[in-house]
Symmetry: C2
Amino acid sequence: MDDALNAFVPGPRCTIQGKAGGALDGLSFAVKDLIDIAGVPTGGGNPDWQRAHPIPESHAWIVDRLLQAGAGVIGKTATDEVSLGILGENPYTGTPINPRAPNRVPGGSSSGSASAVAGGVCDFALGTDTGGSVRVPASFCGLYGIRPTHGRIDFSGITRQAPSSDTVGWFARDGATFARVGEAVFGAALPDHLPTRLVVAIDAFGFADENVRHALEPMVDRLRKLIGHSREEILAPPGLSVWQWAQRVGQSSEAWATFQPWIDQWNPRFAFGVASGLVMGSSFTSHDRSRAALMRIEAKARMRQLLPAGTILCLPTTPFPAPKLGLSISALAHPRDRISCLTSHGGLTGVPQVNLPGAIVDGAPVGLSIIGGGGADLDLLAVARAMDAA
Amino acid sequence: MDDALNAFVPGPRCTIQGKAGGALDGLSFAVKDLIDIAGVPTGGGNPDWQRAHPIPESHAWIVDRLLQAGAGVIGKTATDEVSLGILGENPYTGTPINPRAPNRVPGGSSSGSASAVAGGVCDFALGTDTGGSVRVPASFCGLYGIRPTHGRIDFSGITRQAPSSDTVGWFARDGATFARVGEAVFGAALPDHLPTRLVVAIDAFGFADENVRHALEPMVDRLRKLIGHSREEILAPPGLSVWQWAQRVGQSSEAWATFQPWIDQWNPRFAFGVASGLVMGSSFTSHDRSRAALMRIEAKARMRQLLPAGTILCLPTTPFPAPKLGLSISALAHPRDRISCLTSHGGLTGVPQVNLPGAIVDGAPVGLSIIGGGGADLDLLAVARAMDAA
C-alpha cells in the first residue's frame, strides 16, 4: 500500500477486520509498532529490537478489545526507537510527515499513529505515552489524544519502557470518534454531565511561548463557558522544572533497567541521541533516585488536592508548536527539556490527560490539555466531545 | 568479487594498478575504509559517515606512495565504526572473519585489513592505530603489524580520531614483505645492523595471562639471541592502569572533539557500545584532562630514558588471544580495559611498535611486540625480518 506520509512501518501492511456489529463497526485504526499483533513482528522502531524478540502469539489486550468492538486494523505505525523520543525522528524508518505542518516534526514517540490519523488514513490510532508520547504528537499534529489514567488499561502485549509511567492511549480527528473509542475501551458510557469546576494552571501557561498563550486563550474561554466555575492555581509548587527533573531521573532510570539486558546482550544500534539518553539513564545515583521518588509522592498528593471529583485542570500541552525538521542535537536539547516541563506531571502522578486541538501558531497546530483526577478518563472524553460540538 | 571473510566493504570492489617497475611491483594491498582513495566514498564503517562527507578527490598520501612504488589496491576493508573499537565487531558491515581463529573476533579497528591479509587475499594491508587498532588485530590474527612513530608518516587523506595519537600502519604475513613496504613508505633502506640491547617489560609480562607469558617465552629467547644484551625493566612506573587511564581520558576527549560537530548535525546511528564510549569522552572534566596531559609528559620522558638509540623493548601485544565471538557488552568490558593497559603507551608516547606473530594459546594466535625510540621504525622492521628468517 502507498504510504506517502511514511507513517507505517516498512514491508507488507498488516490488516485485520473487526468483529461485525460491534460499537466501533466500520472504524479503522492503526497500531503503534510497540503494541503486539499476533503473528506480526513487533519492530519497536529499532532494527535490533525485532531480531531479539519472538513474534507475538497473541494480540495486546487493547488491540483485541478494539477488534471485538468492531474496529479494523489497517497497519502498524512508526515510532521513535523503543519509544525513546518526543519529536518523531527515526533514522531507521524515517520521520513520518506531519500533515498539518509538513516542514515540522510530527512529534513522538507515537509519530506514525499521529501522522496517519492527521492525514486521514484511518479513523483513530493507538499510541503509548510514558513521558508525553501521545500528548506531544497530538499537540503538534492537531489531534485529540489521550493519556489514560496509569494502570487503568491492561498493558499486556505492549513493549514497556518505564512501567510506573507507561500508558496506552489513542488519537482521533474528531471528538465524537475519540470518545466512542474510549467507551469501547473502558466498557462504560460517557457520564451524563460534565465536570463543574475548571482550574487554570497559571505556571504552565506562564511557561509557554507568548504567542501560544494568546492562541490558547479563546479555547480556555470556551472551556470556561462549558464548565462554569473556574479559578487559577499553580500546578507544581516546587516548579515545573523540579517535577521535570524528578520524572527524568525516575523514568530514564526505569528505562535503563528495562532495556539494559537487551542492550548488554545485543549491543543494538541507536541514533546517537537515543543512546546518549540511555547512558544518562544509567548514570543517576541511588541518592538521585531516592530524591525523585520523594518528589513523586508530593506531586501525586498535589494532584489529589487540585483535582477532586468534578474538577478538571487545563494547561498548554506543549510550550510551542512542532520544531522545524532538520535541527541539530544541540539545537533541540533545550526545546526537548521545555516540552517535558509541561508533560512530566503525567508520568509522575498518573492522572489522565486529553489534548484538545484548535489553536494555530505560525501556521502550525498547538493544543490545550485537560487533566482530571485518577480515573476521570471518561469525564475528559465527555469534555472533548462537548468542546468539538460546541 | 567473492568475500568469504567479510573483510571488504559492501558494494563493487575498488581496484587500482600500481606503477610498473617500482620496488613493490607485483604486490597487492587492501585499504582500511578510513583512508581516502580518489573517487571512492570513504565509509568509515558507519552508515552516516559517508553521507555526511564528500567523495575524496585525491588519494591519501600513503596510498599514493604505495601506488607509485608499484603495489596495487585490491579493495577497501571493514573497520570498527569511525575507528572506535578494538575487537572488530561492526553491526553495519558485519564482523570480518579471523582466519586463524574463526570462532573469535579478528580484533579492530583495522579488522578487515587484518582478516584479508591473514586469509591470504592480498600481500599487505593498511590500517590506522590510535589506541591499538593495528597492534591488536595483528596479535589476534597472527600477523606482522606496525604502529609507526607518531607524526612520521603524512596523515593527509585519512579520517582522524584523536590527532595527537593517530597513526597509519600496515599488516603482512611475512617479515620480508612487511619490511619491504616500510622501505617504500619511509623512502630508506633497512639499517645494516640490528639493535644491540633488549629491554623486557616485566610489568607488561606480569599483566598478561599465564599461558600467554609461557607461550611468548621462546620468542623472547629468540629475540635475546638475535639482539644480545638484555635486561628487565618496568615499562610504566606509575602502573599500566594509570597510563591506561591517562590515554583513555586524552584519546576519548580528543575523539569527542573530532566527532562532536558531525554527531550534533547528523545524529548518526551507532552500536550502543560505540555511542556510550563517545558519551564517556564527552564527560571528562578539564581537571581530568589536565592530569592526563601531565602523565603524558612523564610517560614520554620514561620512554626516552628506556629507549636510547640501539635499544628496543619487548612486551606481550595483548594479554590474551582474541575473545570468542558473541560475548555481551558487560562480558567484554573488562577484557577491553585489559587490552588497552598493554597498548596505551603507544598513543600516549608516540613511539613505534611492531607485532611479531608466532605464539599460539588455546589454538589462537597471540603476538610479541617490540618497541623502539621515536624514529626507530626501520630498526623494528629489520628485527621483524630477522626474526622471521631466523
